[in-house]
């Protein structure tokens, strides 16, 4: 059996990649993908602890997260589409009208 530390390390690595993507990319689509990575890092954690404790709640919960992620992608792509229509670009640093 693979020790739980490996899962956690994997999860942390995926999470950091996601954060890195959000911090460095300007493309809204890449933003969306990075958010998916963050969510899945959390899922890995849930499943790993679920297995570790022998309790199925975590796995069930990760199914909900997957469904939520799907919904989030639908909305996210909608936002990206609106962004493109309004600013002729998907660069998030261009859309700065909601500011002081």
């Amino acid at each position: 059996m693979v020790p739980i530390e490996y899962y956690l390390l994997l999860s942390a690595a995926v999470f950091c990649i996601g954060v890195f993507g959000i911090l460095t990319r300007r493309n809204a689509l890449l933003f969306l993908m990075s958010v998916e990575l963050l969510l899945n890092a959390a899922n890995i954690n849930l499943v790993a602890f679920s297995r570790f404790h022998g309790n199925l709640t975590g796995q069930t919960f990760s199914l909900f997260t997957l469904a939520l992620a799907a919904a989030e992608v639908a909305i996210g792509i909608g936002i990206v589409l609106v962004l493109y229509r309004n600013f002729d670009d998907v660069d998030v640093t261009e859309a700065t009208t909601m500011r002081w």
């Binding site: 954060v19 959000i22 911090l23 300007r26 933003f31 998030v92 640093t93 859309a95 700065t96 009208t97 909601m98 500011r99 002081w100």
Partner: protein, 688 residues
């Protein structure tokens, strides 16, 4: 269920109020329907009030407990240590006597106004009669009020009516200014009164004048506390002992009295108030409203009688005012001005009487003064009609033959004012001075007040007869005086009624005669004021002044000699004053003898520069203080508030720049925050 006149008691005040409403509403919407500009409803209403007052007077004397007391609660306190506020009616000997005075004088003044206002073609009559009606209603309500708060409310309404009526001729320059002055000066005193009312409520939990089944009267509570009997507890403030705190309350209420009764130093409004129509001067500024202050002291005399320092203060202020105002009356050239200063002076006597423990004497003087001063003012009004509204006495002269009714009525009032036997003023003034004298023999302060009052008798005699001789005797000095305007029955009738009253009212309380001749039972007024409920009776008050203020009557030689001496000295001085006036002014062509006083005359003519002093007080002291306070308010208080707001505005304008609109920056801040949080937890949790 009370007997019938008591059931009708509210109507005593309600009738004039209805006449006020009629004059106001009909006068505004259908002036043609209003007979005589509102005079007829006013006359009917005051006549009704007079009849009801007399009925109540008779009923009080016939009732078992000598009074009628009924009240409703308009604010009920909830829970412990709260208080109720009431409206109520208290009819006892004192208040029914005052009700009759007020309604009688109001009735006569309404009749007189027909001659003074209607026949002279004044405009705005509904406004005038509405003012008179409201005044009469509020004064009557004040008189039968059963607690201090209600009394205060109507006290203020009376002041408002005074303002309305003094400023009746508002298109001229003088009256509005005089009205404002009267309002502000009396309001200054009333401010203290208001604080006093609140103080009384907070101290005693009630401001009732007389007790009822579930509530004590506040003077009675104070009496029990000071006597140290019973389990009565009161709350005192500012760390005062009950005795001292009650004195503070007494002085606060006295503030309103001094303002309304025109006592020094708040007397300055009254001479200016002569700008109003003369019947108003007669009703308000002589007979009734100014009486409100003195009446209030008499009403709560059970409270004042407990406080020797306050009594001495009242006596001293009264004696001083009597002399001070009388000296100013000597040099005035307008007939109403002389009467105005005599009014101030006479109210000084009443205060002297109250302060000296002469409750009955002061009430007696209140009664006689109401009649003879209303008479003198109405007489002056008649002269003013005749003189085509010229009030300068130096333009008159020789009116005796032209207007005999006015002359004899005025003479009766003048003899009463000067205190010549047997006119009413002699009996009452003599009793006031007698009380001050016998109590003063054991108290030097009272003796000083007595001396001032006695000296004022001479001046009173002098200025009164100077006025009479200048107006009615000698040769006419102007064409108007040679051919005066006639006056009608509506002027002569009130003068005749009051003239007779001024001559004979003194007979209701001939105390010196009783003491000297030993005729028992002719001090009717004394018996009357002694009759009511125990705690409001004259003998209870004299017990209080004796026990608490340690007033004891002294004598010189025998008791009879003291009475004779007091009456003789005051009568002698009055005759001396009148005689001096007779020598100087009862000549065909009088000259201005007062000019020989030189600079003293200038000082007197300018009222001791009291007006200038008060203006200086307002402009030279109050205004700079107010400006400094304003500066402090604008600079320091507002500065702190504005500073706090500008700091947060400035901070906000800087911090808002975090909101760049770039999502990456927000994400960066979130991440940084998370990391900082993790590190902080790590350090505190000891992970490293």
């Amino acid at each position: 269920m009370a007997a019938l006149p008591f059931e009708l008691a509210p109507a005593i005040a309600a009738l004039p109020f209805v006449s006020f409403l009629i004059a106001l509403l009909v006068g505004a919407f259908a002036p043609r329907l209003l007979p005589k500009g509102g005079a007829i409803p006013g006359i009917l209403a005051t006549a009704g009030s007079l009849l009801l007052s007399i009925w109540a007077f008779v009923a009080v004397s016939g009732s078992a407990d000598g009074m009628y007391h009924e009240y409703i609660t308009w604010v009920a306190g909830a829970g412990e240590a709260t208080l109720d506020l009431h409206f109520g009616i208290l009819l006892d000997p004192l208040s029914t006597m005052m009700l009759i005075i007020v309604s009688l004088v109001a009735l006569l003044v309404h009749v007189f106004s027909l001659g003074y206002m209607n026949d002279e073609g004044e405009t705005g009559l509904p406004r005038y009669y509405a003012g008179l009606g409201l005044f009469t209603a509020s004064m009557l309500s004040f008189v039968f009020a059963n607690n201090l708060l209600m009394a205060f409310m109507f006290f203020e309404l009376v002041g408002l009516c005074s303002w309305l009526l003094i400023g009746f001729w508002f298109r001229e320059e003088g009256p509005p200014s005089a009205a404002k002055k009267a309002f502000l000066v009396t309001r200054f005193g009333d401010y203290f009164f208001l604080v006093g009312v609140v103080g009384v409520l907070a101290t005693f939990g009630t401001s009732m004048f007389v007790g009822s089944e579930n509530m004590e009267a506040f003077p009675h509570i104070a009496e029990q506390v000071l006597a140290g009997e019973g389990a009565v507890e009161v709350t005192t403030f500012l760390g005062f002992e009950p005795q001292a705190w009650f004195a503070v309350l007494g002085l606060l209420i006295l503030g309103g009295v001094v303002g309304k009764s025109a006592q020094f130093p708040l007397h300055t409004w009254l001479p200016d108030a002569m700008e109003g129509p003369t019947p108003v001067s007669a009703l308000i500024h002589a007979a009734t409203m100014v009486a409100a202050g003195v009446y209030l002291v008499a009403r709560i005399y059970g409270f004042y009688a407990l406080l020797p320092q306050v009594l001495a203060f009242i006596a001293f202020v009264g004696g001083f005012t009597a002399l001070f105002a009388a000296t100013m009356g000597v040099v005035k050239k307008e007939i109403k001005q002389v009467l105005a200063y005599s009014t101030i002076s006479q109210y000084g006597y009443m205060m002297l009487g109250l302060g000296a423990g002469g409750y009955v004497a002061a009430s007696f003087h209140l009664l006689t003064h109401a009649f003879f001063k209303a008479l003198l003012f109405l007489g002056a009004g008649s002269v003013i009609i005749a003189m085509h509204h010229n009030e300068n006495m130096w333009d008159m002269g020789g009116l005796k033959e032209k207007m005999p009714v006015t002359y004899y009525a005025f003479l009766s009032g003048s003899l009463a004012l000067a205190g010549i036997v047997p006119f009413s003023g002699f009996w009452s003034k003599d009793e006031v001075l007698y009380e001050a004298f016998v109590h003063g023999l054991n108290s030097p302060l009272l003796l000083g007040a007595y001396a001032m009052g006695l000296l004022a008798v001479f001046f009173t005699g002098f200025y009164t007869f100077r006025m009479v001789f200048l107006t009615f005797h000698g040769e006419p000095r102007t064409d108007t005086a040679r051919d005066p305007h006639g006056v009608g029955w509506n002027v002569k009738f009130p003068l005749a009624v009051l003239g007779i009253l001024a001559a004979v009212t003194g007979l209701v309380n001939m105390v010196p005669v009783q003491k000297l001749l030993g005729v028992e039972g002719i001090d009717f007024l004394h018996q009357w004021l002694d009759a009511g409920p125990e705690v409001l009776s004259a003998h209870h008050y004299s017990t209080l002044t004796h026990d608490f203020a340690h007033y004891t009557a002294g004598t010189i030689g025998s008791a009879d000699l003291t009475v004779l001496l007091s009456a003789g000295v005051s009568l002698g001085l009055a005759l001396a004053g009148a005689g001096a006036a007779w020598l100087l002014y009862d000549v065909p062509e009088p000259v201005r003898h007062t000019d020989r006083l030189g600079r003293i005359k200038t000082v007197l003519f300018n009222n001791y520069y009291q007006d200038e002093f008060q203006v200086w007080l307002a402009q030279g002291v109050t205004l700079p203080v107010a400006k400094a306070a304003d500066k402090f308010d604008q600079g320091v208080i507002d500065g702190v508030v504005n500073g706090a707001s500008s700091v947060s505005l400035f901070g906000g304008s800087r911090i808002k720049r975090v909101q760049t609109g770039v999502v990456s920056n927000y994400a960066f801040l979130l991440t940084t925050g998370l990391i900082v949080l993790l590190v902080a937890f790590g350090i505190m949790g000891g992970w490293f």
